[in-house]
């Protein structure tokens, strides 16, 4: 199994399943490794050259595996459920076209560590704000492996976000909406600044007239970019119906957008519970 070192606060995922030519007699085991998943975040000056490292360590019992590294543009759908990858330069605030990696292609044995240097050379003329891209390391078929036959092969892919901030960075956001969709509470936010925002927060449910919340749920950390869309939904499952039964509530969302101030919004909402839900409750 693929094991993330720091699975939270990272732009990382796995599980590109690909069909490829492989011996038909048996299905190979999925590649397992651990990797640096902390996003690379740097405050940089125009013209600066920045080099950082990405590391991937194969589990001991793994066979020698080929990897290929590349830098590409990346964004997420507004509901945060889908990620998209495109050629460098697709986005205006892409840093992929300024990046180079070493090694691009390498083979790693069981227990060994692949260290990929990524260098970003910022242009001299660069507007303030945030720029981002993704370093993706894909498992590629071993060129020397015997071919033949048709089968199913699982190949691994891991990505790490690269965020560059050129001062002055403005971190502003507006909460556009607060709603309950079935058994999920959703906050819609617009990024009014000039850089990607890492957003954390919580949603509180008050029985009208009460000062203590009946339930509080934490929003998982999410990243709100500045393009292709400025807006995004942050959703979380509602607490169990026993904690938050159907009824009218004052629902309040408080978001930490990494600025000096938190932002918040509240409105009265009717919650209708149709079945059990399992959101984390404080």
């Amino acid at each position: 199994m693929w094991t993330p070192m720091l699975p939270t606060r990272s732009l990382a995922w796995l599980g590109l399943m690909a069909l490829s030519l492989a011996p038909s007699s048996q299905t190979p085991r999925p590649t397992s490794f651990s990797a640096t998943l902390t996003s690379i975040k740097v405050t940089a000056r125009p013209g600066q050259v920045i080099t950082r490292q990405f590391q991937l360590t194969m589990d001991r019992d793994q066979a020698r595996t080929h990897f290929r590294a590349r830098v590409e543009d990346w964004w997420r759908s507004e509901d945060g459920k889908q990620s998209f990858y495109r050629e460098p330069g697709t986005l205006r605030h892409s840093c992929a076209q300024w990046a180079s990696v070493n090694p691009v292609e390498s083979a790693v044995g069981g227990g060994d560590t692949l260290t990929v240097r990524i260098t970003v050379a910022l242009p001299v003329e660069l507007a303030p704000g945030g720029y981002w891209c993704a370093l993706t390391v894909d498992e590629v078929p071993d060129p020397l492996a015997p071919g033949g036959g048709v089968g199913v092969r699982f190949v691994a892919s891991v990505s790490t976000g690269i965020f560059l901030y050129v001062d002055p960075v403005e971190r502003h956001a507006t909460i556009l909406g607060l709603r309950v969709d079935g058994d999920r509470a959703v906050v819609r936010v617009r990024n009014d600044g000039n850089a990607p925002l890492g957003i954390e927060g919580r949603i509180q449910f008050f029985v009208p007239g009460s000062s203590a919340p009946a339930a509080v749920v934490d929003l998982a950390r999410a990243t709100l970019l500045t393009e292709p869309s400025l807006e995004g939904d942050l959703g979380v499952a509602l607490p169990p119906a026993a904690v938050l039964p159907s009824g009218r509530y004052l629902v309040r969302a408080i978001l930490d957008i990494g600025a000096a101030n938190d932002i918040g919004a509240e409105r009265e909402l009717v919650v209708t519970r149709s079945g059990p839900a399992n959101g984390p409750v404080r």
Partner: protein
Amino acid sequence: MVPFADAVVMLWLASRVSVPTPASTTTSEAPLHTFVIQKPPAERTAEGDAIARLARNEAPQPARAASRLSGIAGVGYVQHADWGAELLAAGSIKGLDVQFTGLATYGSQGARLDNGTLTAGDPDRGWRADAGDLYSDLRGPVRGVRVSWLINDRWQPGLSLDGPRAGSLDRRMLLVYRDRLRLGPVSLDGEVSADGSSFVRMRYTAGQRFDVESSYRRATSPVPGRDAGIQVGLRVWRNLSLSAGVLRSERPGDRSEWRTVAVHVPIYRNFGLTLERTFTTTNRSTDVLWAAMVDVHAGSFVFFHRYQWGQAEFFQPGLGTVSRDQLQSMASYAMGRRVNVTLQMASQWGAAGLTQNWLEVQTDVRVTRKTSLQIATPLPGAYDADRIRVRLDQGLPGRFSLFAEYGRPSAYQGLADGAEQPRFRLMLRRSWSVATPSRGGQVRGLVLDYTGRPVAGARVRLGPYSADSDTTGAYVFTHVPRGEHDLSLDPNLLPADYAWDGRVRPVSVTASTRATMDLMVAPLNAIHGRVYADRNANGRYDAGEGVAGAVLALAERVTATGADGAYDFYNVLPGAHEVRLDAARLPALYEISGLASRTIELKDDRPVTGADFVVVAKSKTIIWREIK
């Protein structure tokens, strides 16, 4: 409105945004109120602070432009005596190593500097100056000024102007030449003063097995005399050691000779026995002493026991021979890390029986992290106000501490009503540390590739310090402390388009160093090509002619072509490289047409494209057979 439980200050913004309700199981027309909550300063650590923290961790570490001078200052009061102020300081100012210790008092004898020493030395230029209370091998403790120079690593001559310390009988001021010479395992020290007195000492050390020290002293005034001595130590095996010494002294009307020999035998691990015989002859008596010492170290328990016996024979008629026995014992036990108890005992017997018996218990207690207490009390008579000593050190906020002592402190002016009386002393101390200007060498240079182009963003390391090259490839280290440092590039933070040969360059840095050292890296580039079947025989690749899955090798590196027949070797050093097409692994439908390998000349400044290989579809003869 419901108050906020977790907001310190709430600022309502006037925005009231109506949001269309999406299709869901709930509907609401209630307006949306938005607001801003000002965070307390401690909470402003989210995104921006995390990035700043990362930046600090990943930033280069330059040498510090400032040094520090640290120490303790205190003001004290002594019961019935005087006020005192003490100052201890050590550190560096402008590259000079500076140390100061001093105690000034105001009392019955007015204001005076009881003791104090100021030392300043320049380790780069090799000079050192001392002023205040010094020690002379000829005259012992003196007060004066001393300057010495380290000519090279072996020779250090110096001059002193030595005067008397307070209370000294010898009131002369003398110019003294001092010299120190190191010749491998041999070191020589000497002094010659303006009155003709001289002193010389020779030490020889052969590892930890053998050492010998001899000295000769000749004084002309105020009391003429001569001393000569030699002491030898030999470590025979493990901790079994022998030592012996002779010292002969002559003064007008007084002559003495002291000889000693001792053997130390390790009995078992931390248990040792030392036997010693000392023979002393003066023009008045002959003294022969035997001594046996036992030392035991067992964890937190330490025990030392010395028993000596002998007799003195006096030449003066009527005094005859006197025998004496003496026992000295010391036991120390540490109870954890907070309490240590030490028991010391001394007993002496003469012909008339027990002549002296002395017993004392000293307890050191670390009461808290900031409080330590020391009590030394005699036994019996633990509460004897004349003999008990109590010392308390209490840490206070703001780097202050309070030091209180009862007993017989030293280093203050004599008491009006008797120097030996116990007294109470109180000191308020404060530790301090101030930044001082530093001095250091400078190492600068350029990071360049083989073509002379500057390399920006390379992390250069000089010993524990680091700097990044700028857009012109320049790096600089300033205020580098004296020492031997390695100049290198950090291979992990070298821009991805370059390779470094890992050659570390040693740099010897002093305060006056102004070195320029360039670092060279190799530019990396790529080789791009295709494997294709030239079906239309036009001599070039056309869409659809690529051969996927062809294997190519460059030295130990292997890659395969993609769906369009393209392959790439990235991060390749400049020079000639052979790219081979693996014929055995070609897809079964193809075979190589022409060469299976190509020599590619990769330049310093650009990638190679068009490193193509042409294959052809295998032609198979069709054999037609009639089926009956």
